[in-house]
Symmetry: C2
Subunit: 159 residues, 2 copies
């Protein structure tokens, strides 16, 4: 393995491990449990699930891997906070989307060559990237690993 | 920047960002608030603080950067779960230790050359490392970023 391959493996292994941890917790909950709050007055499980789907959907254009599949989730699960009166997809629908999204992301990630992970993401210009080469695709994944871990720590608190 | 420098910057920037997020939350809490649970029947803030100190202390021998400073924290904050009757250092003491530990880790991390981050950690033999070069020091930090983010997501739930 060359050093790019090693680094990509380190980051994608951690991403996959974090996805697996969340998925395992998700599968252990009933639809009813997903309606519960992680702590009194805090987000419900179903909101966190929708929030993660929306944030991961946003990664696609950011990584230059395609357009968003669920653009309508942005308002519901990112801009707006959890609201029991909001019209949301059902837990069953969100579970199906989560599974499908994870599979599609995994496919797209595997198809990238290691050196392509060090290309710029779409939120930085070619000009700025010359001086800030760390603002690459792989760095987006590092940031989202943190984000996913943060919410997984909360998600597992549902009783 | 060469590619090793870029990768190390990506990971250490994220580590520092995560440390900063936890520290900001910690400083916003009173000692009294740290005695509260993150959710009913779950860990108290003070336990999570001690747990993070213990896990970060463990990183020193694992990264081959020295021995542990608080070996007695292992039993109290890793092996054992939170227990209101356990004899624990005070919130004030743990705050001081957290701050000092962050400073010392930052100094040690900065002193390493980029290529040294890709050397093996101490939980893998030189023999195995030949075939598993991703099991390096930088990978330990990637794992601990997830761990810290996971517990930060919980820590911010204290009211």
């Amino acid at each position: 393995m060359n050093s790019n391959q090693i680094m990509v493996k380190m980051v994608l292994d951690r991403w996959n491990g974090q996805i697996k941890q969340f998925t395992t917790a998700l599968e252990a909950y009933s639809d009813e449990q997903l309606q519960k709050e992680i702590a009194p007055g805090r987000n419900r499980g179903i909101y966190l699930l929708g929030h993660l789907i929306a944030v991961h959907d946003d990664m696609m254009p950011l990584l230059n891997l395609g357009s968003k599949t669920y653009p309508e989730f942005n308002k519901l699960f990112i801009e707006e906070s959890d609201n029991k009166n909001a019209k949301m997809p059902s837990a069953t629908e969100l579970r199906t989307i989560w599974k499908k999204q994870c599979e599609e992301m995994s496919k797209k990630f595997s198809a990238l060559q290691p050196e392509q992970w060090f290309e710029r993401h779409t939120n930085i210009s070619a000009e700025d990237f010359v001086n800030e080469p760390h603002r690459n695709r792989l760095n987006v994944v590092i940031g989202r690993i943190s984000h996913l871990a943060y919410h997984t720590g909360q998600f597992i608190l549902i009783k």
